[in-house]
Amino acid sequence: MTKQEALFEYVLRKADDTLILGHRLSEWCGHGPVLEEDIALTNLALDLIGQATELYQYAAEVENKGRNEDDLAFLRLEREYKNVLLVEQTNGDFGKTIVRQFLFDHFQSLLYERLMNSADEQIAAIAEKSIKEVKYHLKHSSEWVIRLGDGTEESHNRVQESVTDLSRYIEELFYQDEVDEILIKEGIAADTASFKEEYYNNINAVLSEATLSLPEKMWQLDGGRKGVHSEHLGFLLAELQYMQRTYPGMEW
């Protein structure tokens, strides 16, 4: 694998994470539990889709095969999407959406802090621009985890169930392979192993304030980075890609 191929793959993986999570959050539009949260969740969705746009633009440039960001976002098959499994999981109740966001935001925040110093100028610039958004997402989801966990008996039980369910997707966030190895050597990618302990410390601090906890042991799933997804992604893509598949090249 050449450095260029690795860079394309790396940027594409990050772009897919943000697009798919952004799309999931957009499904809340008009369905939020209260007006204020409806707006908050769709704001997060817009931030993430905005980050995805920049990442796809850069991926297309690196690939240099005449595809643009829309081709990458809308015209690939399920197996070609390289997002982690966590982000494609269904919204469930509001608590589950918040937990999924919480687990992702803490990771993304530590990742972008490091990518701001990437030897690749474009990645560093995107990380620097996105970090403020991510820090706000982190604050939003962490505060909700605390309030739901330490709220009523029902909110506690529901959100604990989501923490237990979604904990099986945590390890995949730190997944690394040849793509990462090539770019870590160049100072372009961040070595996820270097902040894994910090990640667990950070989420455990919030969870314990919320009177919640990660399960002792949980079977860990992965495959997303290789394009092997859970059953949910296909349905999501059917909706995401509908317009471009039905009216190819449509603009508005």
Binding site: V34, E36, I39, A40, E143, R147, E154
Partner: protein, 95 residues
């Protein structure tokens, strides 16, 4: 599930340094910190502000509309209280 609503909060936004906070609207939130978060999302999405205040609406004491006469009308006929007899030099903004 209880149908009890979250308390109402009044939101004040300072649009830039040097200006005062202005009432922007109201919203519901479970507590003060969430009210700030919600205000950020609802009222400052288009960079309308540099600072936010939230006050629980229950804590606002308002004048009584039926007393509007005694409170405000005596000022109507006193034009000399308005600083309109001066020329404001060019370049002085926010007057």
């Amino acid at each position: 599930m209880s149908k009890k609503e979250w308390p109402l909060w009044e939101v004040f936004i300072r649009s830039k340094q040097g200006l005062s906070h202005k009432h922007a609207g109201s919203l519901r939130a479970a507590d003060a910190e969430m009210a700030i978060n919600n205000a950020r999302d609802v009222y400052t999405r288009r960079s309308e502000g540099v600072s936010i205040w939230v006050v629980e609406s229950a804590n606002v004491v308002a004048s009584d509309p039926s007393e509007a006469g005694p409170l405000f009308e005596p000022a109507n006929s006193k034009a000399y209280r308005h600083p309109t007899f001066y020329d404001v030099p060019d370049g002085v903004s926010h007057m």
